[in-house]
C-alpha cells in the first residue's frame, strides 16, 4: 500500500478512541454518542429553519444566494481560525510525531496523512453548519439532482483551502521561530491570541458592516441577481466559485465553476505539498526538546517545601497547576471561563452608542430584580456549562490515570478536588462577568451580591453533572491533550444540557417578567434540589464508579 495511505489509515485508527473493552462499556459509549448526536439536532433544526424562513423574502428580490455566500464564508472562516491551532497541535505537538520522524517517510507523506485526518474531522464540523444550509437551500429552491451533486462536491472541497491556509500559517510559525522549543508557553500564547483574533474578526466584521453605507446595501439589493452573495464571499477568499457553482446549478456554468473551484483547491494542495516538503521537518524536528536551565532551590524555597498540607489541598493545587500549565486544558477549562466579560466588553464597545444607552435604560428601569435574577441563573448555567474543567476531570488524567489508583487518597477526595477547582474557576469567571455588567449597567451592589448568591446552585450544577458524566464516560485514551478536551463527549453533552437549562431560564425570564419572584425562587430551589441529588449520588457511588474505571 502507498505509504501516504497506510499512514493515513493508521492515524485515523488512532484518532478514534478504541472501543471500550466490555460489551456493557461499548453499549454505554454508543448510547452516549447517539445521545450527543440527537442533542445536536435542535441546533441543526434551528439553522435549517432560519435558512428556510429567510429564503422567501430574499428570493423575492433575487438575493437568496446570500444565504449560500454567508454560510460558505462563515464555515470557511471557522475552519481557518480553529484550524491554525488544530493543525499546530496535530502536525507538531501530537505524541506520534516523535515516532514518525525516525521512519523512512517523506515530509509530504507525514503532512499529507495528518492533513487528511484533520480534513476528515472538519467534515464533521461542517455537518452542523454547512450541511443543513445546503440541504435546506436545495429543498426550498426546488433544486434537482445536479444541485445535490454540486453541493456534495462543494461540501467535500470547501474546507480544503481554509485548512491549507491554516496549515501554511502553522508551518511558517513553527519553522521560522524558536517557539517550538517552548511548546507550552507558545501554545498558551497562541490560544490567547486565537481568542483575541476570533473576537477581533467579529469586531472587524461589525465595523465593516457598520461602516458600509446603507446606500451600498440598497444598491446591491436593487441589482438583484444575487449581488449580495458576491459581496458576502469577499469575507473569505476562494468561496466565490463554490457559491457560483451552486447558484448556477441548472446550467453548464455550475459545473464549470465547480471544476474551477476543484482546480483551485488542487492548486492549494500542491502549494501545501511543496511548502510542506520544504518546511515541515524544520519545525517538527526538535519539537520535543524542552528548554530548561538547571534550577536548584534556595533556602527559603526549601523551607517552603518543608511545609505540610492536607490531601485535599495538595490535590487541588496539583489540579490547578496542571490546568494552568497544559495549553489545551488552559484554553478549554480555564480561559473559557473568562471569555464572557471580554466578549461583553467587545460587544458593548463595538455596538452603536444609542443601542447601548437604550439597553442600559431598559435594564436600569424596566427590569425587575426577580427577572434579572432568573436571567442571571440562566446566564450562570450557560457560562459554567461551557467550561470543560469538571466534565474532563477524569479524562485529563489520560494514561497516568493509574496514579489515582495507587495514591493513598480516597477516591471521593480526588473527585472533590476536581470539582472544587472547576467550581472556583466557573465562579471566578461568572463573578468577573457580573462585575463588568455591574459597571456597564450601573447595577447596585446589593443586586450584584444577591445575583452572585442566587446563581451559586446554577454554577454548581454543571460542575456536579460534568463530573458525573466524566466518571461514567472518561476519555482516557488520547495521543494529544487537545483530544482529551476537544473530542470529549461528556463536555459536549454538558454544554447541551446546561445550554438548554440556561436557555429555558432566560426564556422564562422574558416570558414571565411580570410573574414576580415565583419563577426565580422556583429555579433556585429546583437547582438546589438537583445539585443535592447529584452530590448525594457522587458521595454515595462516586468512589465505586471511579474504582470501576480500568487504569
Amino acid at each position: 500500500m502507498n505509504r501516504y495511505l497506510a499512514l493515513s489509515r493508521i492515524l485515523l485508527k488512532s484518532s478514534i478512541t478504541p472501543p471500550a473493552s466490555g460489551r456493557h462499556e461499548r453499549t454505554k459509549t454508543a448510547l452516549l454518542m447517539l445521545f450527543v448526536a440527537v442533542s445536536m439536532l435542535p441546533l441543526v433544526a434551528a439553522l435549517a429553519l432560519t435558512v428556510s424562513k429567510l429564503y422567501d423574502p430574499l428570493a423575492a428580490i433575487g438575493q437568496q444566494g446570500v444565504l449560500l455566500g454567508f454560510g460558505c464564508a462563515i464555515s470557511g472562516l471557522i475552519i481557518f481560525i480553529f484550524g491554525i491551532f488544530y493543525t499546530i497541535n496535530v502536525y507538531y505537538f501530537a505524541q506520534d510525531v516523535e515516532f514518525l520522524l525516525p521512519l523512512p517517510l517523506k515530509a509530504g507523506e507525514i503532512l499529507g496523512a495528518k492533513f487528511t485526518i484533520t480534513l476528515l474531522f472538519e467534515y464533521l464540523t461542517q455537518l452542523l453548519i454547512l450541511a443543513p444550509l445546503l440541504v435546506t437551500f436545495g429543498i426550498r429552491s426546488g433544486a434537482g439532482l445536479s444541485y445535490y451533486l454540486l453541493a456534495a462536491g462543494v461540501y467535500l472541497s470547501l474546507p480544503v483551502i481554509p485548512l491549507v491556509l491554516a496549515s501554511l500559517l502553522a508551518m511558517a510559525l513553527m519553522s521560522y521561530s524558536s517557539i517550538a522549543s517552548h511548546k507550552d508557553r507558545f501554545r498558551i500564547w497562541a490560544g490567547g491570541l486565537g481568542l483575541i483574533a476570533a473576537l477581533g474578526v467579529q469586531f472587524a466584521m461589525q465595523k465593516v458592516m457598520a461602516g458600509r453605507k446603507p446606500e451600498d446595501f440598497v444598491r446591491l439589493l436593487q441589482e438583484g441577481k444575487n449581488s449580495l452573495a458576491d459581496w458576502a464571499v469577499q469575507l473569505f477568499p476562494g468561496v466565490r466559485l463554490a457559491v457560483k457553482a451552486l447558484l448556477q446549478q441548472g446550467a453548464a456554468a455550475g459545473w464549470l465553476n465547480l471544476v474551477l473551484f476543484l482546480l483551485l483547491t488542487g492548486l492549494f494542495i500542491l502549494i501545501l505539498r511543496l511548502a510542506g516538503g520544504a518546511l515541515y521537518f524544520r519545525g517538527a524536528v526538535g519539537g520535543s526538546e524542552s528548554y530548561a536551565a538547571h534550577r536548584a532551590l534556595n533556602a527559603a524555597e526549601m523551607a517552603e517545601a518543608g511545609r505540610s498540607g492536607g490531601q485535599l489541598g495538595a490535590l487541588i493545587l496539583k489540579e490547578i497547576r496542571l490546568l494552568v500549565r497544559t495549553p489545551a486544558f488552559f484554553m478549554n477549562c480555564v480561559l473559557v471561563n473568562f471569555i464572557w466579560p471580554v466578549m461583553i466588553l467587545f460587544v458593548m464597545t463595538s455596538g452603536e452608542q444609542e443601542d447601548i444607552e437604550g439597553l442600559r435604560r431598559l435594564v436600569g428601569s424596566n427590569v425587575s430584580l426577580a427577572t434579572l435574577l432568573l436571567a442571571g441563573i440562566g446566564a450562570a448555567l450557560l457560562v459554567a456549562g461551557v467550561s470543560g474543567a469538571s466534565a474532563s476531570g477524569i479524562s485529563r488524567e489520560g494514561s497516568q490515570f493509574f496514579t489515582s489508583k495507587y495514591l493513598p487518597a480516597p477516591y471521593l477526595t480526588q473527585l472533590k478536588a476536581k470539582m472544587t477547582v472547576a467550581f472556583l474557576l466557573a465562579l471566578a469567571g461568572f463573578a468577573l462577568l457580573l462585575g463588568v455588567l455591574a459597571v456597564l449597567f450601573q447595577l447596585p451592589a446589593a443586586a450584584i451580591g444577591l445575583l452572585l448568591l442566587a446563581t451559586l446552585p446554577a454554577i454548581a450544577f454543571p460542575v456536579l453533572a460534568g463530573m458525573l458524566l466524566d466518571v461514567h464516560f472518561p476519555k482516557l485514551v488520547w495521543d494529544n491533550e487537545y483530544r482529551a478536551v476537544k473530542q470529549n463527549m461528556s463536555i459536549v453533552l454538558l454544554m447541551v444540557i446546561s445550554g438548554l437549562a440556561g436557555a429555558a431560564c432566560i426564556w422564562m425570564a422574558l416570558r414571565y417578567s411580570a410573574a414576580g419572584w415565583t419563577p426565580a425562587v422556583t429555579a433556585v430551589l429546583l437547582l438546589m434540589a438537583v445539585d443535592a441529588g447529584l452530590y448525594f449520588m457522587l458521595a454515595k457511588k462516586g468512589a465505586d464508579w471511579l474504582a470501576a474505571i480500568s487504569a
Binding site: S21, S308, Q400, L407
Partner: protein, 241 residues
Amino acid sequence: MIELVQVNKSYSGKVKAVDDLTLTVPAGEIVGFLGPNGAGKTTTLKMLTGILNPDSGSIRINGLELHREPIRVKEQIGFVPDSPDIFLRLKGIEYLRFMADLYRVGGAERRQRIEEYTARFEMAEVLGNKIQSYSHGMRQKIVLIGALLHDPAVWILDEPLTGLDPKSSFLLKEILRSEAGKGKTVFFSTHVLDVAERLCDRVAIIHKGRLLFDGTIAAMRDHFKADESLEKMFLEMTEDE
C-alpha cells in the same frame, strides 16, 4: 509482608494474565519477580498496589486486606511504576511536596528526606525545573524519591533500574539492601537477571500468568541439579512451558 493467595486476573474475560497466583514476600527480604514479556509481572504489581482489581483471590499487605482497607494498605506501600512519565508539568519539588502531602509526611521529616534523597540521587540542582525537562533517568529518580518520602514499610518497584545511570543504580541497590536489613519488604520486577542474582534473597518466576518457581537461587540450582547461571535456568524454565 506481602501475601497473594490464589489471585486470578483476566482481561476481557478471555486472556488470563494471572492464573491462581499464590506468593508470599516476607518482611526483611528482597524478592525479585522475573518472567518474559507479557508473563503477568506488571499485572501482579498493579493488583498489589490497587491499580487493578483481581477477579478472585486475596491480597494482604502486612496483614491488611487490600480490598477492605485500601487506603491503609496504600499508605504502607512505596510504589515505583514502570513508566516515570507522570505529572510532567509539575516541578520536581512540587511533585515531592504533593507526594509528601498525600502520604501525610510531617514538615521536619519531609524536608530532611527531600534534602537527603535529592542530594544522594544528585537531583537537588534540578528541583526547581519541570519534570518535563528531565531525562528518562532523572524522571525515574524523582519518582523513586517520591516513593521513598514516607519511609514505606513495603516497597513495590516495577523495573526500577531501567534508565538509571550506573551510580544511581548502585545507590538504589544499596538502599534496597539497607531497607530490607531494617525489616522492610522489597518486591521488584526486573528483566536484568544479573541484578536478581546478586541482589535478591529469593526470586519468583512467572510465565503465562502462572508461578513457575519461588525460592532462593540456591534452591533453583538444586532444582536444576547444576551450577548454571540464572539466565540459563530462567531460559530453560520458560522455554519448557
